[in-house]
Amino acid sequence: MNESAIQNALLIAGLIKKYREDNISEEELYALFQWRDSHSDNRALFDKLMDSRELENDLEQMEEVAVAFYEERILSRIAGVQDMAVVPDRPVRTWRWLAAAAVAGLILGAFFLLPLTGDKEQFQETVAPVADKIVPGSNKAILTLTDGTQVVLDTASETINEKGNIAIYRQNGKLVYDASHFASSGAVIPGNTIATPRGGQYQVILPDGTTVWLNAASSISFPAVFTGGERRVSVTGEVYFEVAKQFLPGRENTRQRMPFIVEVSSPDNEQDKVEVVVLGTHFNINAYPDEDLVRTTLVEGAVSVNKGKAQVKIMPGEQAGIAAGSYIFSSSRPDLTEVLAWKNGVFKFSNTDITSIMRQISRWYDVDIRYEAGLSSTLFSGGISRKDDVDKLLEILAGDGRVKFSVNGRMITVQPSR
């Protein structure tokens, strides 16, 4: 495989392009047909390209690729923005050992000093008892079947059977629904819920092929098989969807799509839910009860977000937000790599308020946060892998001296720096 073979291929592609545009000279046409007739494979490729059918199919498939997401990510990488924090080259283990030794010294010292002064250290880490160690989140969730049985989902992989001959396959971190042998045994369609705890995340493939990613402290409830004129699910927390295209039964020739509707129950009252109506796409919903807005971000495709009579339609790259008790949507164009960072296994912040960052940390590491008085509302930028320990992230945030952290068991206190 060499350089000239590639350049030859590019040349032929150029000739084909000119041929399609009716913009080809006699010599070029001759050269093209020479290539075509020199081998049966070339002839087959030529015919395939002229037919255009496969090209069209591929062109359509490519619309499903989240180009906008990768575009932003690549452009921000080359802009030299240090999104992934540069960790100092001393290994973490050494740091821990040093810290432990330092703390031991401090504890000894403090024992004598305490009655005399009430001094606070710059960065203090109490050596937490082993049982209460803070670790990053992992693939964990609980599946509740229609009869109320709860199944813990971790790394095991036996198939679960649901009523009506629906099989649920378990793979590490992923649940796949197979309703192809669904036998309706009465009027009731089995309903399932998958919920992640703090420190958990999970992926589910719904019976129609829609793929769902659940962040920590989130859930999705849905029927184990989709029947009727629409597909309706309900979520809490943060969930990313890649909705599978599905047509209304019996209406395949009019190509009318079966809508996919995501309900987010509103914290104020039951009737007041936010609904996202989807027509085959990729989008992220962030609806944690402790966040100020329910945010729907569209990556590819088309969705309309509804609440009561209010409605907004967003285009790829846009985000619609709505507050509890409000019927007015705000729309913005956020950094998609930030919005989808969780799904890609990283944290990413740019000019984000410390409380928003700490809320994400509390959900993923399953810790509680306390804020001391005197904190100014400064903004932070940075990022780290979700697999890293919380100390690394706190170290980055404390890096330029604007805040300090103190970790005590499962409680992290955010302090203003002096």
Binding site: M1, E3, A5, I6, Q7, N8, A9, L10, I12, A13, G14, I16, K17, R20, E21, D22, D41, N42, L45, K48, L49, M50, D51, S52, R53, L55, E56, D58, L59, E60, Q61, M62, E63, V65, A66, V67, Y70, E71, R73, I74, L75, R77, I78, A79, T254, R255, Q256, R257, L279, G280, G301, A302, S304, K313, M315, G317
Partner: protein, 198 residues
Amino acid sequence: MELHVKNDEDCFRLLQEGDPAGLQYLIRIYFPVLCRYAIRILNRDASAEDLVEEAIIKLWERREAFTCIEEVKGFLYTSIRNSCINNIRSRKREQARFQAFAQIHEEDTGACIESEIIYAEVLADLRRSVNALPARMRKVFILSHFKEMSNQEIADHLHLSQQTVRNQKTRAFRLIKQWFKHRSAFLWSFFILLFFCK
């Protein structure tokens, strides 16, 4: 976000000048095409986005070494192919843990590279045509042709009248008619029929 770069030559010039708009053009037009190319080489239904992303980053880092757009494309196709082969190799190594170093044959890659490059280039050219449509026309075209939405659905979604949607579709159709130039007469009339039925 509109793309101002419209062709390969402009793209190359911008890359030489260190202008990210050149890279943006390559990503918009080529990213999905290269993902498909990589999957064909890997010969499995895996996602190749990360692999393609790394190749594009590498390209940017050595943008000043290229003398023409063909060399840029050649680099992408070669670099991605090599990454795919490394990927296949390490998976084979995992599978054949007790055997000697696994040999990679052309058959393993599941594709004839020259054919794949030719196909990818034609695909990229079509993608460029669609992308070159004015913004609103492109949205209408994509929603009707690929998302298969009805005129009413498109009108609602883009806040246009149905008549405007029909006009935009006609004009897009005309601009991209070169796609249909070499179809057989049967397919041509079939599509005309479909078009008027919508």
